[in-house]
């Protein structure tokens, strides 16, 4: 929310991350292992952020990474896992079980309606469901009412206004117009719900080109734009690159070894040990890896191979 009219919103990753304060409520775009703003999360870790309150729908690598990096104080996502590929998210699990992270697990429609209320300028939205579920115990802020029209028992979920939404888009211009390719997951909604909006983008394109393509988020909704090629890696950002199953498998094995191993074998190497995106790309396998992750375009066999690769 807010109307942003600056003609040039382009800032660096470092400057964008420094806008986020310890304890902020942060909505993360994308979902599961698709189009998550991982470059920004790495930068938040380098800047040593603390107690971030993460909110969103069904996520995976992003939240697990952020928990392992020690920048999270509460998680309000509806699901955090590596699905049936690798299973339970070890960093997330450890952080929840030790009490380092407060479990505020939410449910997809409940939180979507909370974002909607914020986006619609309303204090709450009513829902028909969540009744009977103990997830309501994790949300004492939800209220029950008897509907004055139907007499039905409704749950009211309050507007959820994140301090900042971080979304990774395929294309942006410096004015803030965006082209996000489907699936949008909850991104377009959280951009309208949050107080401040930071977008990292694979490509910055000229405004004339963007207007021809047709933006699906108008410039005035976006506060800051960061050029971050490969900014969603190791999650996918189609059409540029598929999910890096090899890297995620490597990451997952390290998370199984425990919190200390994660710090020394993953954080030191891929986060604290790199200063630029080019250095990161070298660490993950350089242009060979980039070429392989873009090879999904070469047809079914090539695409399938990426999912077979460990």
């Amino acid at each position: 929310m807010g109307i942003y009219t600056s003609r040039n919103k382009l800032i660096t990753l470092e400057a964008a991350a420094s806008i986020i304060k310890d304890g902020d409520k942060v909505a993360i775009g994308g979902g599961l292992c698709l189009r998550e703003p991982i470059a920004m999360l790495r930068e938040l870790a380098r800047q040593g952020k603390k107690n971030l309150h993460m909110c969103g729908t069904a996520h995976g690598f992003d939240i697990d990474f952020a928990c392992g990096a020690g920048i999270v104080g509460a998680v309000e996502e509806t699901h955090v896992s590596f699905e049936q590929d690798f299973g339970l998210a070890n960093n997330y699990r450890r952080a929840c079980e030790s009490g380092q992270v407060k479990v505020r697990e939410n449910c997809c429609n409940s939180i979507i309606q909370q974002f909607r209320a914020a986006a619609y300028g309303l204090p709450f939205m009513p829902i028909m469901s969540a009744k009977g579920s103990e997830e309501t115990l994790l949300h004492p802020e939800f209220k029950h009412i008897i509907c004055p029209f139907t007499g039905n028992d409704l749950i009211l979920v309050p507007a959820l206004i994140p301090d900042v939404a971080i979304v990774h888009a395929q294309k942006a211009d410096i004015h803030g117009n965006l082209r996000i390719e489907q699936p949008y997951v909850a991104d377009i909604l959280m951009i309208r719900a949050a107080k401040n909006i930071i977008v990292t983008a694979e490509e910055i394109i000229p405004e004339e080109e963007m207007i021809k393509l047709g933006p699906n988020v108008p410039y005035y909704e976006v506060a800051h734009v960061v050029h971050a090629p490969w900014g969603a890696h190791p999650t996918s950002c189609y059409p540029y690159y598929a999910y890096d199953r090899e890297h995620i498998s490597h990451y997952y094995k390290i998370t199984q070894e425990g919190a200390e191993a994660f710090k020394t074998k993953y954080m030191d190497k891929y986060v604290f040990g790199v200063k630029t995106m080019d250095e990161y790309i070298e660490k993950i396998g350089g242009s060979e890896r980039q070429k392989r992750l873009a090879s999904w375009k070469n047809g079914r066999e090539a695409w399938m191979e990426l999912y077979n690769y460990e």
């Binding site: 069904a58 955090v80 590929d85 449910c107 997809c108 009744k131 579920s133 997951v185 598929a242 999912y307």
Partner: protein, 280 residues
């Protein structure tokens, strides 16, 4: 007589899940759902050609994926689609009573069909943090019916105890079955009618209409009623006509193998279970 044709457990299991889908209905699978993904596509290519397939968080309508990936949110799940919707629209449809079926699972499933996807332990003392229910807490209330599936019915022994998936009472209820910790579905006036099937690697259950307790209907050919009882913490209702389940045809099994070349459906099973095979 032609030679016997081999069917593996994962194939028979997925076939059972597919059979819970009716033609001309709107069906959605959630996250971490390789078996429902394959079962939905299989149903659409066989007995449910007019089913509306809404694919997970990706939310493509009627995709024809070149293969099933190891995540539910991927561009493979948009290939050959008709329209795209966004996930919020799926939840609106469910709330309006327009979502006919979905699929949910859990580390624990209790006798009334409630499922735990949140935690082993309680909020003040979490022993194991599970991934979370994603949309299940809402959709298990809203969708007209749903299928529960678990590939971990068999309860391994730990010392003199067993660790059950089918439990008398869940540590924590994420997704709602027929009788919740806060009352029955009727008392809560939920939109949907609740779970109507449970598919496990030992059998297929529906619910006893009176007691709303899980009722054993069909067994795998290598499983007995006693096997089910030993691996279930509560006493399920046994249908008077409980019998061995129907088998798919050779053509149906070949179709399933063709649409799921990466065998993502197998990822859900403990390796030992995948050794089970049947012949038709």
């Amino acid at each position: 007589m032609s030679e016997k044709f081999k069917v593996t457990l994962d194939e028979l299991f997925t076939y059972n899940v597919a059979k819970t889908i009716k033609d001309s209905t709107l069906v959605f699978h959630g996250v971490s759902s390789p078996i429902p993904m394959v079962a939905m596509y299989f149903a659409k290519l066989t007995h449910a050609k007019d089913m509306v397939y809404v694919g997970g968080v990706t939310s493509a309508i009627d995709p024809n994926p070149p293969f099933f990936p190891t995540t539910t949110n991927d561009w493979t799940m948009m290939q050959g689609r008709t329209a795209m919707i966004t996930i919020d629209k799926l939840f609106d449809m469910a709330q309006k009573g327009e979502l006919h079926r979905s699929f949910f699972s859990g580390a624990q499933v209790d006798k009334f069909g409630n499922q735990n996807v949140t935690m082993i332990g309680r909020p003040d003392k979490i022993k194991i943090k599970l991934p979370g229910g994603a949309g299940g807490c809402n959709l298990s209330g809203d969708c007209i019916n749903y299928t529960i599936w678990t590939t971990r019915h068999r309860a391994p022994a730990k010392g003199d105890k067993r660790i059950y998936t089918l439990v008398d009472k869940c540590d924590f209820v994420t997704n709602v079955g027929h009788v919740t910790p806060f009352g029955t579905r009727e008392q809560l006036r939920l939109v949907g009618k609740g779970p109507d099937w449970l598919v496990t690697e030992l059998g297929v259950f529906d619910f006893d209409p009176e007691s709303k307790i899980l009722r054993l209907r069909y067994l795998y050919p290598d499983i007995t009623v006693d096997d089910v009882l030993v691996n279930t913490q509560f006493k399920p209702v046994i249908h008077p006509e409980v019998r061995i389940m129907d088998m798919p045809t050779k053509e149906q099994v070949e179709l399933m193998r063709k649409i799921d070349p990466l065998n993502v459906r197998k990822n859900e099973f403990p390796p030992k279970e995948l050794e089970r095979q049947f012949f038709i």
